[in-house]
């Protein structure tokens, strides 16, 4: 933290903040005082911080600010990243990222061994599915699939280019570089869309592109998926609370629940038994009428996801919560008394939805954790501390917590590393395990002990935290910028800032792909002369995500009938543009968007904003003829991401949708 303070105080005088960010010193002072004098406070963001080349740095800066203010680990504080859809958190937790198995276990050989045991799948079989050396190598991120298709083969860090893509509940117009995405779609061998709506993907694929790009043997499949109302299951919110959702109606038309589609695919591809963990007379997930039982899927996750405490939220406990909403306090989330009539389960003390971490197995009856890192509570009451995740010492400095810093009532009153069988034996706590637990826990750590015994003894008997007790990490030494740094975007209007705040060097193999930073920035350093307005994008209340589903809903569609660009009165007047006029928005990608002008002071004179929920127009033309008959959304409009430019976060590879440059002309 001292290093961060030193760096920030040296570089960011009020004058420099104003020069770079445009925030006047008085305003900066007012905001700083507001934060300093009103604690706790919470910082909330969505994609505005993350979808930049320096997204990781901005997010860490927010977290560091909250740490410095003492706003972490307290009720009312926190660094809160709101998710755009109702189960993004849950989807992330089960591991869609190309560098991790479920529960953020990573892809090390040990992680595969753990999950093979949980899944009741033969590890050797699993290993046999991978080409040599690829099993523990992070894959290509969704943001870059187009480069996986189009990059020269010798430049990519895997044997072959991508040939097939499956869009499973994902909108193509939420990703940048739309023009190139269309080309990539045409080159594929296989394109599958699994969605309640055919989505913009179907229309984009059907729309004729350049004849030279089209792979004549390409197959496109649309698989209709059930909506949330046509299936049941658990859903995780941004606060890590999990709710159980009941089916309202049976799937309409040919739609099937996601789990059924997965099972049918696995059957065709020859690994249906592995999908449901059927081996040696055991079967993890029962299949009823062709549908894997959703409760069993959660139970399997519970059995394996010890890392983030996704283990105590059994379907039975979650359902009891849903039946007894009234016993939970709306401010603290905590149940005051209450017995579930149907099962006799005692709800008293549980936090609503058992926000993870809900440690150990369901029998441990951990109440869930409404606020992370809260040392004011006992660990069995939802308390905790910072994680020992980065070793115990670095450059002679102790990374663990100092004496006296620990969760309430902990037997160990100083810092400690994460628990495993060796540590437990050293502490003399080993014999508190049952014989059964000892058999399972031998040679394991808290994350891989499937009995949950290590966690039980550590938490219930000794009030300690399974992942250790350490200091929060302000300087992330393994990231490109250990102390978060400002770096100018690849496409900007401030050539004068690029020399002082240059972007990163190009990377040769980053998530298997060459990734450009500095070479793009240098090439387009003076792009602001031709494209003098910064273009950003974001959300509207009326629509969700790519918007295909919500723009098909007449009540919502009526409220936002046209794609638009917010433009400042000064910029509009200079260009002869009036409110409601059609305009062309051009970007360096070569794309042109025909949208309506919304003249407003909400954006500055050097800024413009376009919501990203629209699709169904392509550079001025309606794509209606390319949707399957009767499946086009009521409202169609230009997708801003048809025109967004190259640029990826230097750690996460998140696409840069929040900053590019444009010019706007009256249409």
């Amino acid at each position: 933290m001292d290093k961060v303070r030193e760096d920030v105080l040296k570089k960011w005088t009020p004058e420099e903040v104003e020069r770079v960010a445009g925030v006047p010193p008085e305003q900066m002072k007012r905001v700083a005082e507001m934060f300093a004098k009103n604690r706790p406070s919470s910082i909330i963001w969505c994609m505005g911080q993350t979808q930049h080349t320096i997204g990781n740095a901005m997010v860490r800066a927010s977290c560091i600010l909250q740490l410095a203010l003492g706003n972490i680990g307290v009720s009312g504080g926190g660094a809160n990243i709101y998710r755009g859809h109702d189960n993004v958190q849950g989807a992330t937790d089960v591991g869609p990222n190309p560098d991790s198995l479920p529960g953020y276990y990573g892809i090390a050989p040990g992680s595969f061994a753990h999950w093979a045991r949980v899944w009741n799948v033969d590890l050797k079989w699993l290993q046999g599915r991978y080409a040599p050396g690829m099993m523990s190598k992070a894959g290509i991120t969704v943001s870059r699939w187009i480069d996986g298709v189009m990059e020269k083969n010798e430049n990519i860090d895997q044997e072959s280019n991508l040939r097939g893509v499956v869009y499973w509940g994902h909108a193509p117009n939420s990703q940048s570089r739309g023009l190139e995405m269309k080309k990539a779609m045409d080159k594929l061998d296989l394109l599958v869309v699994v969605d309640p709506y055919p989505s913009a993907t179907a229309a984009m694929a059907a729309m004729p592109g350049e004849p030279a790009d089209l792979n004549k043997n390409r197959d496109v499949y649309l698989l209709p998926a059930a909506t949330q109302f046509e299936t049941s299951g658990s859903v995780t919110a941004s606060n890590r609370s999990i709710q159980w959702r009941e089916k309202v109606i049976n799937p309409l038309f040919e739609a099937k629940p996601d789990q059924t589609i997965m099972y049918l695919l696995a059957e065709k591809l020859g690994f249906a038994d592995q999908l449901v963990g059927k081996r040696d007379g055991k079967q993890n997930i029962q299949v009823a009428n062709g549908e894997p039982v959703i409760e069993d899927i959660l139970r399997e996750l519970n059995r394996g996801t010890w890392t983030i405490g996704y283990s105590g939220q059994s379907p039975e406990r979650l359902k009891a919560h849903m039946r007894n909403l009234h016993v939970f306090d709306v401010k603290t989330l905590r149940a005051k008394g209450g017995v579930d009539k149907e099962t006799g389960y005692k709800l008293d003390g549980d936090y609503f939805g058992l926000p993870w971490p809900c440690w150990g197995n369901a029998a441990l009856k951990h109440p869930g954790t409404p606020n992370l890192y809260n040392t004011h509570l006992h660990v069995m009451d939802g308390g905790g501390n910072f994680r020992a995740n980065f070793g115990v010492e670095r450059d002679g400095e102790n990374l663990l917590a100092e004496d006296g810093s620990h969760s309430k009532g902990a037997d160990i009153t100083t810092g400690y590393p994460e628990f495993d069988h060796v540590f437990l034996k050293k502490l003399g706590w080993w014999d508190e395990l049952t014989d059964e637990e000892k058999k399972e826990a031998e040679g394991k750590n808290w994350k891989t002990d499937l009995s949950g015994g290590i966690i039980r003894v550590v938490m219930k008997n000794h009030g300690c935290y399974p992942f250790g007790n350490a200091k929060a990490r302000a300087v992330v030494w393994n990231f490109p910028d250990g102390v978060p740094q400002h770096r100018e975007p690849l496409y900007g209007i401030r050539a004068d800032l690029v020399d002082k705040y240059p972007t990163h060097d190009d990377k040769r193999a980053f998530w298997r792909l060459p990734t450009l930073f500095k070479s793009v920035q240098e090439k387009y350093k003076d792009i602001g002369k031709e494209f003098p307005i910064i273009l950003t994008s974001g959300r509207l209340t009326e629509y969700e995500g790519g918007g295909e589903e919500t723009r098909s809903n007449p009540w919502l569609a009526e409220l936002q009938q046209d794609a638009f660009v917010e433009i400042n009165p000064r910029s509009a007047n200079d260009r002869g543009i009036r409110n409601g006029d059609y305009v062309w928005v051009r970007t360096p990608s070569g794309a042109r968007l025909k949208v309506k002008a919304l003249v407003t002071e909400r954006v500055g004179a050097d800024h413009a904003f376009i919501p990203f929920h629209f699709s169904g127009w392509w550079q001025g033309k309606d794509m209606l003829p390319f949707y399957p008959e009767g499946a086009a959304p009521i409202v169609r409009g230009e997708a801003v991401n048809t025109a967004t430019t190259y640029g990826y976060d230097s750690v996460t590879m998140m696409q840069e949708t929040k900053t590019t440059v444009c010019q706007i002309e009256k249409a």
Binding site: W555, E558, R602
Partner: protein
């Protein structure tokens, strides 16, 4: 007997249009007919405020006063309703209404407008309560089911309150007291009458 009123708290409205969507869905109101809408003033500049507007079910309703066929009537709860079988679509009510509440489904030749449509406080119309005929002409009759209007029930910030005038006035008064500002309730003077000097507002408790 309760006196039903709407109240929109401009300090709380976030222009999410949840009320509009709830109304559309509850009553299956066709495209282009807006029983309720959110109006934003000073959009995009500091001081921006939004309010949700629909028929306020006025105490002395101008629409009732001007209707040439006398199609309006007031329920025991103070809700202003109308009979579409009598309505001739003349549009007088639209000119009389200070809130722009009356809506017309058509804009045909010779000024043809079709039968007037407006917010019913989710109380249906003259047909028998909760029948298919009533729903087709007027939408849902939630009051008959013991429920309050869908718009206010759906409001995520509880900016829009709908219900017994005494109860919602008390809720609002407590808010004003706590935050120390915003005692002006938009539209209440127009809809429910300004209190004479030195006396409490109509319908409010002392």
């Amino acid at each position: 007997m309760a006196r039903m009123k709407f109240l929109c708290d401009a300090e709380r409205c976030i222009e999410c249009n949840g009320c509009v969507t709830a109304c559309k869905n509850e009553n299956e109101v066709p495209w282009g007919v807006n029983r309720r809408r959110v109006v934003t003033l000073n959009d995009g500049v500091p001081g921006e405020r939004s309010i949700s507007v629909a028929c306020m079910h006025c105490s002395d309703a101008p629409c009732m006063a001007v209707c040439p066929v006398d199609c309006f009537y007031k329920t025991e709860d103070g809700v202003v309703l109308h009979d579409k079988d009598l309505c001739i679509g003349c549009g007088y009510c639209f000119y009389a209404c200070p809130f722009g509440a009356p809506q017309f489904p058509q804009a045909g030749a010779f000024g043809l407008r079709g039968k007037m449509d407006k917010c019913t406080f989710c109380a249906g119309g003259p047909e028998k309560d909760s029948t298919a005929e009533e729903f087709k002409k007027y939408g849902s009759n939630r009051l008959a089911m013991g429920k309050l209007p869908a718009c206010a029930e759906m409001c995520s910030t509880k900016a829009l309150l709908g219900g017994d005038g005494d109860v919602i006035a008390d809720i609002y008064r407590a808010r004003v007291f706590k935050r120390g500002k915003g005692s002006e309730v938009w539209g209440w003077g127009t809809a429910y009458g300004k209190p004479p000097q030195g006396q409490p507002a109509q319908g409010g408790k002392t």
